[in-house]
Symmetry: C2
Subunit: 195 residues, 2 copies
DNA sequence: GCTTTAAAGCTATTGGCAATAGCTTTATGG
DNA sequence: CCATAAAGCTATTGCCAATAGCTTTAAAGC
């Protein structure tokens, strides 16, 4: 086949790197094409649209994050597992801000959002499952486990997002705050038990 | 003065409404102008740029949110005050998704982010102060209070953001989850005491 | 009441980006 | 060695932000 060059994979990888550098929302096809040394219209031989490329980045990012969290918990249980998962997630998010931003579902992109991105939804379910499993050791069942999972997801996403946005203005050590916030959450886990 | 028409205030208000309808990031000058019944270039008689308009919306939104949280806590203290603040913030965010999105500082918009938006930074400090004060009743001082504030901000922002993004896929009742997540956080507050 | 004037609006234009159409090149397979 | 299909290109359209420069209108002074 033609001119040994760009593949769908390479486009996505370059988009990921670019997103990490300029932000997921500042991702442009023009910049991706420039990086690959081709002209913008040529990209359409590999992708369907900017939206489709963003979806690809999202899906891969969610899988990556799920893998990072899962690996962080191997050989650990209970509080250790949850703390390791939390710290691993934050670290990955700091190293890959663009990919991390791609991780959170786009807030109503137009009218769709119900059907769009079926694969990404499946990937997201996997990632949430990792968190759910890490909390399983605390004797939480059914809705209690769901509530606790939502709590941890919220805490992690909120902290990471605010940190990335520069939302923690005060000089107080942010690493220390994260440790304490995660610890406090873990200690609150028994409170999610309903029975 | 001329043609009784648009003012800087009206532009900002229309931008806020539009942001709530289409999302803060989908805010365009073209749409704002169309709503006001004028042509796009005419907008520049009232604002400096799209970025400046977005900053105005951000600043006002932060003030609004701070006011909503502050009003929710009057006449309350301790756990009641914190719970009321949390529920008021979530409710306002759900009613004004575009304004809420404008509330969180833009993650490194280009190179600046250090100096840009001095007024918005002051407004943000006020809003954080409301949360800080609500937690004051728990005997937290210095860095302990900062850590707890960061915890509550993270939890609230994360929950609201994920909810707005449709990130809670399971059928389990989201209102109930929020109640329990906030309760668990409040019960974890004594754990922030260092002394 | 008329004139001055400055604000508020307009049209026209530029430049960036996504997207589509249609042509050209090139590597590979028969 | 040629046919072919993939990969690249140029050209074009449409949308948006932004700037330049002209025109209108409402208020303020005489």
């Amino acid at each position: 086949m033609p001119r040994a060059g760009v593949t769908r994979e390479r486009v996505t990888e370059e988009a990921e790197q670019l997103a990490d550098e300029v932000g997921f929302d500042a991702l442009t096809l023009a910049a991706v094409a420039a990086r690959l040394g081709i002209k913008l219209p040529s990209l359409y031989k590999h992708i369907d649209s900017l939206a489709a490329l963003r979806d690809s980045v999202s899906e891969r990012a969610i899988h990556e994050l799920a893998g990072v969290m899962a690996r962080a918990t191997v050989g650990k249980a209970g509080a250790d597992a949850v703390a390791a998962l939390a710290h691993a997630a934050r670290e990955w998010a700091r190293e890959h801000p663009g990919r991390y931003a791609a991780t959170v579902p786009a807030p109503r992109r137009g009218v769709d959002a119900e059907f769009g991105m079926p694969e990404a939804a499946a990937a997201a379910a996997t990632a949430v499952g990792v968190i759910y499993d890490a909390l399983a050791g605390f004797g939480l069942e059914g809705d209690d486990a769901i509530d606790a999972t939502r709590g941890l997801r919220s805490l992690l996403h909120g902290f990471v997002a605010l940190e990335a946005a520069g939302g923690f203005g005060l000089p107080a050590d942010v690493d220390r705050s994260f440790d304490r916030v995660v610890d406090a959450f873990i200690r609150s886990l028994p409170g999610y038990r309903t029975a």
